[in-house]
């Protein structure tokens, strides 16, 4: 019975995705959505991939990583090399970008994930910067002036397909015994070990999967903007992603998606006031953290039950504390 319900909700989700795709695609084809908002819609998709994949590491597995932009950079550059220098098809280039970023995530994660908390955070930040500075010094990929002449393969359809794919795969992963193992690491590492969970393996696994999807996002990114530039992948970009994760709620996928949509829109809406943009953005961050430090959704998922609780008042009087 439960299985049937699950399948049913899966089908409903699929129908909803297709509907959203159809509506936006029609609006794009009929030019109702102009180039500026088209660009921002693609950015939303890329950000969703980045935020959901970082949430797997930070929110679900509880490992504090702030070097996500580094893995995005690997994806952007590896895929660009594959399409530009080796004339591979886009899908193969995305796979290559994901593989490259994932492999590096694995190689980096293995030694560094022994660290916890702030130490891991600062190590991942440092690694992200090392990746960027290394790219900056490789003339094969354009060095400091960036990798130019990348074909624009990414469009709304590609972006949408990969966003849905990412969310689908990561959500399924989390709802499985492997995902539960990751969450147990977050909740209590010592208890997780005592329950037979190989905590190191699951930390590295979450880190690798997260990095691989950041690679996907990077591939889509560089094949939309014609260029991959080291300046796009500084730790500020990592902070950006982290901000969205925390804003949406650590351990909430629907929260991540909401935050990615919301912040990308805010950022776009403020684009015409460049000098005020970052100030408003930063104030919003501070105020949100002061008043809702657990993020919009906490660690819960958006569900019909939650919606009815919001709209229907606090009838159930549930006392799910934090």
């Amino acid at each position: 019975m439960k299985l049937l319900q699950k399948t049913k909700s899966d089908i409903m989700a699929l129908v909803a995705c297709l509907a959203v795709y159809a509506i936006i695609q029609t609006l794009i084809l009929t030019d109702v959505i102009g180039p500026f908002w088209q660009l921002n819609i693609v950015l939303i998709g890329i950000n969703i991939i980045l935020v959901v994949s970082l949430n797997l590491i930070n929110g679900f597995t509880g490992q504090f990583s702030i070097g996500h932009a580094g893995f995005m950079a690997i994806g952007a550059y590896v895929s660009a090399v594959l399409t530009v220098k080796f004339q591979l098809p886009f899908i193969a280039a995305i796979a290559g970008g994901a593989l490259g970023a994932g492999a590096l995530g694995f190689a980096i994660g293995l030694p560094t994930l022994r660290l916890n908390g702030d130490y891991l955070a600062i190590a991942t930040l440092g690694l992200g910067e090392i990746i960027r500075i290394t790219i900056l010094n490789i003339s094969y990929v354009g060095g400091a002036s960036g990798f130019m002449g990348i074909p624009r393969y990414t469009d709304f359809t590609w972006m949408f397909a990969f966003t849905v794919f990412t969310v689908f795969v990561i959500k399924n992963f989390i709802d499985s015994t492997h995902g539960r193992a990751c969450i147990s690491v977050r909740e209590n590492e010592i208890a997780a070990e005592a329950m037979g969970v190989d905590t190191t393996k699951y930390k590295v696994l979450a880190f690798t999967i997260g990095a691989a999807f950041a690679g996907v996002a990077g591939s889509l990114f560089s094949h939309y903007f014609y260029i991959a530039h080291p300046a796009s992948f500084t730790f500020m970009k990592s902070f950006d992603i982290l901000t969205m994760v925390v804003l949406g709620g650590l351990g909430s996928i629907s929260g991540s998606i909401t935050a990615a949509v919301l912040l990308t829109f805010v950022s776009a809406a403020l684009a015409s006031y460049p000098e005020w943009r970052m100030i408003i953005y930063s104030l919003m961050l501070i105020i949100l953290m002061l008043y809702r430090p657990q993020g919009l959704f906490g660690n819960k998922e958006l569900s019909l039950k939650m919606l009815s609780r919001w709209t229907g008042g606090k009838k159930h009087g549930s006392t799910q504390g934090n």
Partner: protein, 298 residues
């Protein structure tokens, strides 16, 4: 290159490195104190250094202060700003998830950077010359008066800080709070006041570093704090976070290594090397050179 000129060049880079390193050390001291007392990587700390540099700039250009008054003015101004930031943005979050307060610190950092751009324009400014620059030549190695000033001022501030932390009542309270906040509270220590004081002192030290850098490089801009801020954190971790001598040692070592890398290899790799050192120290000795290891009780 023969060996004697190699030695001279090495000595030269050592001098440059120690000057740069003492600036890192001043910023790292604040990082390490703030981390020690509330376990927060205060990402805004590098921007306080920038604020300090601008305070020094305006003190000398608008108020026509000379070096020492400008330095004191800048330290006082930054100290107050640091305390205000702690009061407004961090204190309400003291019991919130750690990541929330970290995000707030990032928010404050962005606010200072972009607020700074709006207020004083993003263009770099030329820091006025506060005293005659003299160049001393010691056996082929060059040391200028700015470097001497940086060294003297940094050393003096470190001595004062060490005295305050080790000998005064407030210093004892700081150490008590950083050791065990709850116990300190039970002993009747006003924890809020101590944390506020720590932010004040840390910010003042960063501001001093900002003024010194202005004198050294002659140029300041609203984003100048980002990299030195991160580097200073690296220095703090290198020396052992929470340890004052560690921050001084870490800053100096980092400065020397950076100078040697730029002098003998390539300045583009300078930043990468700093972060590589960070990773190596974290993996090899996460508690840092002078820190203590703490293990979780099961």
């Amino acid at each position: 290159m023969d060996s004697s000129s190699l030695i001279v060049q090495f000595g030269q880079q050592l001098i440059n490195g120690i000057s740069l390193g003492s600036i890192y050390a001043l910023i790292a001291l604040g990082y390490t104190m703030i981390y020690g007392i509330i376990r927060l990587i205060n990402f805004a700390h590098g921007d306080i250094y920038m604020v300090g540099a601008y305070a020094g700039f305006f003190a000398t250009t608008m108020f026509k202060f000379s070096f020492i008054p400008a330095l004191i003015f800048s330290m006082a101004a930054a100290g107050v700003i640091g305390m205000v930031i702690e009061r407004v943005a961090y204190r309400p979050l003291r019991n919130a998830p750690k990541i929330a307060i970290l995000i707030t610190a990032i928010g404050v950092s962005l606010f200072l950077e972009y607020g700074g751009m709006l207020l004083v324009s993003p263009q770099p400014r030329t820091f006025p010359v506060l005293f005659e620059s003299e160049v001393y030549n010691i056996g082929g190695m060059v040391i200028n008066s700015q470097q001497v000033v940086i060294l003297v001022v940094s050393l003096l501030l470190m001595v004062i800080l060490t005295y305050v932390v080790n000998k005064t009542k407030m210093g004892k309270a700081m150490r008590a709070v950083s050791f065990d906040t709850e116990a300190a509270q039970l002993m009747g220590i006003d924890v809020d006041k101590v944390i506020s004081f720590t932010f004040g002192i840390g910010s003042a030290l960063a501001a001093a570093a900002g003024v010194l850098v202005g004198i050294y490089y002659n140029s300041i801009d609203p984003l100048m704090g980002i990299m030195p801020g991160l580097k200073a954190f690296v220095a703090a971790v290198l020396g052992g976070i929470g340890s004052l001598p560690g921050a001084m040692l870490g800053g100096t070592i980092l400065g020397i290594i950076e100078a040697l890398v730029s002098g003998f290899w390539s300045s583009t790799f300078r930043d990468a090397v700093a972060f590589a050192i960070l990773i190596i120290i974290l993996l090899w000795k996460p508690a840092g050179l002078l820190g203590k290891n703490i293990r979780e009780k099961v």
